[in-house]
């Protein structure tokens, strides 16, 4: 069996999500898969009337993916998870756990990645509980 997924580019992913939101889709989740040592697949799953629809974003693992949290707030959890597990970065995250959602210092960095990764946090998102973020 093969799964049909609509390929999107990083520039269009937020727009594509917004379209689906406007069309009444429910955000199911995102999945990240390491394709090879350099590339990652980020899949966005949506649901409408019990039918699933998937978007596929294929990107190099050291790039920065625009966060869809402005569209779907609920995505903050899964985007943080992907940050933790794959070392991939999301720009503009509503609540940014800075690679500490699941993993502590002592745990391996970006365990799901194939090959070496640089998982150091990069400025951009706001940490939770930051006074600025609770405006």
């Amino acid at each position: 069996m093969s799964m049909e997924a609509i390929a999107v580019s990083p520039e269009h992913v937020v727009g594509a999500c917004a379209e689906r939101k406007a069309a009444g889709y429910r955000f199911v989740t995102m999945t990240c898969v390491a394709v090879d040592e350099h590339m990652l697949d980020v899949l966005y799953h949506f649901d409408k009337d019990m039918e699933l629809e998937h978007l596929r974003l294929r990107i190099p693992k050291d790039s920065c993916v625009p966060s869809i949290t402005p569209v779907f707030f609920a995505a903050f959890l899964v985007e943080n998870e992907i940050q933790d597990l794959f070392g991939l970065r999301f720009c503009g995250l509503a609540i940014d756990y800075k690679h500490s959602l699941y993993l502590d210092e002592a745990a391996p960095k970006a365990p799901f990645c194939k090959g070496a990764v640089d998982a150091s946090p990069r400025p951009g998102g706001k940490p939770p509980g930051d006074p600025e973020s609770s405006e």
């Binding site: 699941y102 993993l103 210092e105 002592a106 745990a107 391996p108 365990p111």
Partner: protein, 160 residues
């Protein structure tokens, strides 16, 4: 006489602190089930206090990971002596099926001394009761006062 009284009472009044160290809930709900009418651990004076400062027995379920090992140690240190640690379920004993997962440190014994091991996946409530009763044995051989043996030390019976 006072010594004997407190020691006797210790066996009759084990207050429980249950810490879920990252279990799949299987053992947790079985531990909780022990407190409910069918098993009723309160028959033995067991109260689930949920607060290390009141507890005599630390009952741990689940695998230790890099984040919760600190919590586990903290809770253990906050308990007043004498105290007993019971590891419940395969995960708490060795890490169980998750031994090889990247975020798993292993069993509880890697962080704090363990007195009683209750195997099972998940353990049955009867096994938890057995484990608690076995753990109480430790109080029987403990002296109160200053020279309390450290938990995990069963004296001459300890092997290996």
């Amino acid at each position: 006489m006072w010594e004997r009284m407190t020691q006797g009472s210790r066996i009759k009044s084990p207050w429980l602190l249950h810490y879920d160290c990252g279990s799949c809930n299987g053992c947790d709900i079985e531990v909780l089930a022990c407190l409910t009418p069918i098993y009723d651990l309160e028959r033995f004076g067991v109260v689930n206090v949920g607060n290390p400062l009141h507890a005599d027995i630390l009952l741990v379920t689940g695998t230790v990971n890099h984040r919760n090992k600190r919590v586990l140690r903290n809770l253990y240190e906050q308990m007043p002596r004498p105290k007993v640690v019971i590891a419940v379920g395969s995960c708490a004993l060795t890490g169980g099926v998750f031994r090889e997962a990247y975020n798993v440190v292993g069993g509880v014994a890697k962080v704090i001394p363990v007195d009683v091991y209750v195997p099972g996946c998940p353990v049955k409530p009867e096994a938890v009761i057995d484990g608690v009763i076995l753990g109480l044995e430790r109080f029987r051989r403990k002296k109160s006062g200053k020279n309390l043996l450290e938990p995990g030390d069963w004296g001459e019976e300890r092997r290996g």
